[in-house]
């Protein structure tokens, strides 16, 4: 018994020492990689054994047999099906490439991606969202695509207007669009018809929005609204940029250096005042159900208790199936400017990829016309010909979203990679302040916010 203990502990120690002191030996032999893929729609699992001899240099790959390209996405669950379908179609046409999808759900995705980047083990293709583009690109995580596009005769005009812009950084293209959504006004025809109020039309203004919301707000016996005119998005800062743009304001200077003079400008103050008045002065908007993105926000529109809702396209599929709602979608109202903002995610190629040619070939397919043919069944397609052919452009609902792309204004994050760290928390706090304190001094609140953001930005710029 004693000897057995001793032997085992010696063994353990040896294992520890070995793992600790293992020196990397140059790999000269052929390695076998086993890749397990789950094929979309079928429970069947394919196991492919790939044999490849890693080349000593990074330059032209001398791989024998197919190469494996890794694609990182933050999509999950049902959202993975289109990825898998596209990959399957692509692999059928490109037998020299195997694409391995690496989904990471929710907000863990960026944390995971960053860890992989730090470890120089990032996926070859990475999907990232709009406001992450300057941050990742400015730090050198993505390769510019312009040369690839030129070589492959890739026509950038295949996309609907404005969809390439979020993927640009300092004049170069780094990402191609995957999916997107502008904002628009959802309305419930049932509530409009019951109140005999006409549906909103293109060209309407903020005054019309308020008047319509007031007509639709219906108070119960206890004086509290039973039906609210308009659901809004509380302290959701990126959505708030629409109100700023429509009021003719900006949150940051074009050179990306000043918040003071912008976040506290009369236009922005007007936008904040209008927004918060909907909640507190006119009381046509239900009070915020929560102040964070995770909790799902207000549910009045989904429950048939709010007549209108200004938001992106994400919940539309659910609303169309929702028995409380007879759905219509209207263009955004204008104030000084007919404006909109875009939410977007796209694909780019990692600087660490060993297979740039193959990866671009896949990207070209993923984000190009063949990919859009699949995406169109799940979201708005980015490619114009696909949107036209599928009838989406003329659709009474999806056509509204696509038409909104003609009014896009650049979001604040495009002017500085520090937006999320400096101004976003300040704007968030300002919106919380004015929403929670009905008589808040909006001008003073925005002045404080602008100064807070400026101080943080100056500190970073001076480093």
């Amino acid at each position: 018994m004693k000897t057995a203990y001793r032997l085992f502990s010696v063994f353990l120690l040896a294992v520890l020492l070995l793992t600790a002191c293992q020196t990397p030996t140059p790999i000269v032999q052929t390695i076998q990689v086993e890749v397990t893929k789950i094929v979309a729609g079928t429970p069947e699992v394919q196991t492919v054994v790939i044999t490849a001899t890693p080349a000593p240099t990074l330059a032209p790959t001398t791989a024998t047999g197919p190469v494996v390209i890794r694609a990182g996405t933050g999509d999950s669950g049902e959202g993975l099906a289109p990825h898998q379908t596209i990959i399957q179609n692509f692999e059928a046409k490109n037998p020299d490439i195997i694409v391995q999808l690496e989904p990471v759900a929710g907000s863990d995705y960026y944390a995971r991606l960053l860890t992989q980047l730090a470890a120089k083990a990032a996926p070859d293709i990475m999907q990232i969202g709009d406001d992450a583009v300057p941050n990742f690109v400015s730090k050198g995580a993505f390769v510019p695509l312009d040369d690839f596009m030129k070589q492959a005769n890739f026509d950038p005009s295949i996309y609907l207007p404005g969809l390439l812009d979020p993927g640009k950084y300092q004049g170069k293209q780094y990402e191609l669009p995957k999916d997107y959504s502008p904002m628009a006004v959802y309305y419930n025809k049932k509530i409009f018809d019951a109140a005999k109020v006409p549906y909103p039309q293109e060209g309407w203004t903020w005054d019309d929005l308020l008047a319509t919301a007031q007509k639709l707000t219906k108070k119960g016996a206890d004086g509290k609204p039973e039906i609210w005119g308009l659901q809004l998005t509380a302290n959701w800062t990126s959505g708030f940029e629409y109100y700023v743009a429509a009021a003719g304001g900006t949150l940051i200077s074009a050179d990306g250096k000043s918040y003071v003079g912008h976040m506290d400008s009369p236009e922005v103050i007007h936008a904040v005042q209008f927004f918060t008045d909907m909640y507190n002065k006119y009381q046509v908007t239900p009070p915020p159900a929560n102040l964070n993105q995770w909790a799902g926000g207000n549910q009045e529109f989904a429950n048939g208790k709010a007549a209108m809702f200004i938001f992106g396209r994400w919940p539309q599929a659910g609303y169309l199936k929702n028995p409380n709602i007879d759905l219509g979608v209207a263009p955004l109202p204008k104030d000084k400017v007919r404006a909109n903002v875009l939410f977007w995610s796209g694909f780019g190629i990692s600087t660490t990829t060993k297979y740039p040619e193959q990866t671009f070939r896949f990207l070209n397919y993923y984000a190009g016309e063949p990919g859009a043919q699949v995406w169109k069944d799940w979201a708005l397609p980015a490619v114009k010909s696909v949107a036209d052919a599928s009838g989406k452009t003329k659709d009474p609902i999806d056509g509204v979203w696509i038409n909104e792309l003609n009014y896009l204004t650049p979001r604040a994050y495009t002017f500085t990679p520090y937006w999320g760290e400096t101004a976003d928390p300040a704007l968030n706090k300002a919106l919380q302040t004015v929403l929670l304190t009905p008589n808040a001094d909006v001008a003073a609140t925005m002045k404080t916010a602008a100064q807070e953001a400026q101080t943080a930005l100056d500190k970073l710029l001076n480093k």
Binding site: K2, Y110, Q293, W294, A295, N428
Partner: protein, 299 residues
């Protein structure tokens, strides 16, 4: 000079053997990253490019960083409120389910169950319960004629709401207390009863002193885990409203993974470690004033 008896040697071997898997995991997965983060705390590092050494720069920035002080304050207040409640609540539950009655294990399981659930799931449930208008809690209060507060959306109530939510975790300390209670010899209670001691007296004179090592253990565990609170604030409030629930770990996460200041985030993490270490040492030092061991005091 201590003689090495075969028994002692065998015991030592058994000790190293049983701790080996943990030790291996620690060295492989914890010690390395910890050393790396210590180094990173003296650098400016965006995770993508190589770290740039900047000495004590991160620690100097912290002094002027209002959000850091706010997050430290929030974390300390929460710990001060939560830890005593956690110990008292866990002890209360343990005493309630202590008697060996038929079916008592069902109650034990029920009280312990919430500790097993995923953090996110139970926080989401609480967010619904605490909804100011449609939530169960405020509807119940309205029945009593009380207008409930705005809970998670009121800067004054948000942190107390999170303390309230954490009652859910009492089962974890309950289980440990239950284990501690079972080590108390029954003869002591019999003797006390014979001498005419009532329930309260037995509790104060026997249960509490003999349970003090378990209380000590739970106190240390509770302080350490409470200082690392993240999920509640991340899911329920996102640090708001107005930074009222900006916990230190949430702030570390934001700096590291949202703002890509991994160097600064590492420095914050080491400050957190230092705070926890000092507090734990203080508690360990205080042992001799209030912790009572039946056998030998551990060396």
């Amino acid at each position: 000079m201590r003689a090495t008896t075969p028994y002692r040697r065998r015991e030592a071997i058994a000790f190293y053997l049983t701790i080996a898997p943990w030790l291996a995991g620690f060295i492989l997965f914890m010690a390395g990253p910890m050393l790396l983060s210590l180094y990173a705390s003296f650098t400016s590092w965006d995770l993508i490019n190589a770290p740039i050494f900047n000495g004590l720069g991160n620690y100097r920035d912290m002094v002027e960083d209002a959000r850091f002080w706010q997050s430290l304050k929030v974390t300390c207040i929460y710990t001060a409120a939560y830890v005593p409640l956690d110990l008292a609540g866990g002890l209360m539950l343990a005493l309630l389910v202590r008697p060996r009655l038929r079916g008592i294990s069902a109650y034990r399981t029920i009280f312990y169950l919430p500790a097993v659930f995923s953090g996110v799931a139970f926080v989401v449930v609480w967010v619904w319960l605490l909804d100011p208008r449609g939530g169960l809690l405020n509807l119940a209060l309205a029945q009593l004629g009380v207008q409930g507060p705005n809970w998670l959306m009121d800067p004054k109530w948000a942190l107390p709401s999170l303390v309230l939510m954490s009652f859910w975790g009492w089962g974890r300390s309950m289980v440990i207390f239950l284990g501690g209670l079972q080590t108390i010899p029954g003869e002591l209670y019999e003797a006390a009863a014979m001498d005419g001691a009532g329930g309260w007296q037995s509790f104060w004179r026997i249960t509490l002193p003999l349970l003090s090592p378990t209380i000590f253990f739970n106190l240390v565990l509770s302080i350490i885990s409470t200082f690392q609170t993240f999920t509640n604030a991340f899911v329920a409030t996102d640090g708001g409203p107005l930074d009222a629930t900006l916990f230190l770990v949430l702030y570390i996460y934001r700096q590291g993974f949202q703002f890509l200041n991994m160097g600064y985030a590492s420095a914050l993490a080491w400050v957190l470690l230092a705070v926890i270490l000092v507090l734990t040492l203080l508690v360990v030092r205080s042992q001799r004033f209030w912790v009572f061991y039946l056998g030998d005091r551990p060396e």
